[in-house]
């Protein structure tokens, strides 16, 4: 395996307008926070995509293990009553 010379990996999250959710845009390499922000700006916000950027060291992200998918996610599949659409709205309750 060759040595990775590309500095640390950072994940980039962009907010498209104030108040909106931050959405994962991609990743950049950088040696420190300020370089990560600048690289994210130069890589992902060149065409007016955003008003705010978060960068997070990739190794600070804890990810679920695909092997755990059946115990993590499958139990949610058969609980239709967890969706609001399961419930019938009373006819007179218009403003809900």
């Amino acid at each position: 395996m060759t040595t990775d010379t590309q500095l640390e990996l950072w994940e980039v999250f962009m907010q498209s307008k104030p108040g909106a959710n931050y959405i994962h845009a991609g990743s950049v390499h950088a040696s420190d926070k300020s370089m990560a922000l600048q690289n994210a700006r130069d890589t992902y916000s060149r065409r007016g995509e955003g008003t705010s950027i978060w960068v997070v060291p990739a190794n600070a992200i804890v990810a679920s293990n695909p092997d755990d998918n059946d115990l993590f996610f499958d139990p949610a599949n058969d609980k239709v009553y967890r969706h609001p659409t399961f419930y019938v709205m009373p006819k007179d309750a218009k403003a809900i």
Partner: protein
């Protein structure tokens, strides 16, 4: 007199942006890493936009006989007024980023002052450009500190770049009749007043980066009279090739 001075002043500003943009665009696909490749070419795009706006205004000052494209692509070497430092080869990344620090710090103070111009077009260009320049300056400063205060190799390369480029910085502050005419009219910027601010700023970055400025010594000169290094001719022969070979080509 004022009109002609303003025209030449615009050529200077426009040519500085155009030629440095050209140099930075040469990093495209050659950057030390993908992210920096994008950063440098972003700077190039900022500068080509600035060059276009300023040369367009220069064209209007002359009644629009020559368009901004004519000015960019159909003048000869002696008719360019960019500072020599903008046309120097990129060298290694150290040389490119030190050049950027010297120029962006100058532009930061220059365009800050130009915001006080009583010429509405220059004022508007200054306001827009200053935002871009602040970013260029931040990015270049971070790199100079990172590499100056980095490894033995990076420190040496940065110091070599500074020692080489320093003699091209005096020219940034040269003034002639064009400047004094426009300062009198409240249009132009007094470069003499910028120099100490610029020098203090650079000194501080050098200190943070554990680098040294050379002793004051010989300074290169020439661009105010259209006299250039050997490098500008090579830039123009490549940059103007299409317009020279196929005049008015469109696609």
């Amino acid at each position: 007199m004022t009109e002609q001075s303003l025209y030449n002043y615009c050529l200077r500003m426009g040519d500085n942006a155009l030629i440095l943009s050209y140099r930075l665009s040469e990093w495209c696909s050659n950057g030390p890493m993908l992210e920096e490749d994008l950063a440098l070419t972003n700077f190039a795009l900022d500068m080509i936009g600035r060059a276009q706006a300023i040369l367009k205004y220069a064209s209007e000052l002359q009644g629009g006989v020559k368009t901004e494209d004519d000015l960019a692509y159909r003048r000869s070497e002696r008719e360019y007024y960019n500072n020599l430092i903008t046309e120097l080869p990129n060298g290694d990344f150290a040389q490119t980023i030190v050049r950027q620090l010297f120029i962006s710090a100058f532009e930061f103070y220059f365009f800050t002052e130009l915001q006080k111009s009583n010429n509405a077009t220059l004022l508007a260009i200054a306001v827009k450009t200053l935002k871009e320049v602040k970013y260029h300056l931040m990015h270049a400063t971070d790199w100079v500190i990172r590499l100056g205060d980095g490894t033995t190799e990076s420190h040496k390369r940065m110091q070599d770049a500074i020692n080489y480029l320093w003699m091209f910085t005096g020219e940034l502050f040269e003034m002639d009749l064009i400047d004094t005419t426009l300062i009198e009219k409240g249009i132009g910027v007094d470069l003499m007043l910028l120099q100490p601010k610029w020098h203090r700023h650079i000194q501080q970055v050098m200190y943070d980066a554990t680098l040294q400025l050379p002793e004051e010594g010989f300074m290169q000169t020439g661009s105010r009279k259209g006299i250039h290094t050997e490098y500008l001719g090579h830039i123009l022969s490549e940059m103007q090739y299409l317009q020279r070979t196929y005049p008015d080509a469109i696609w």
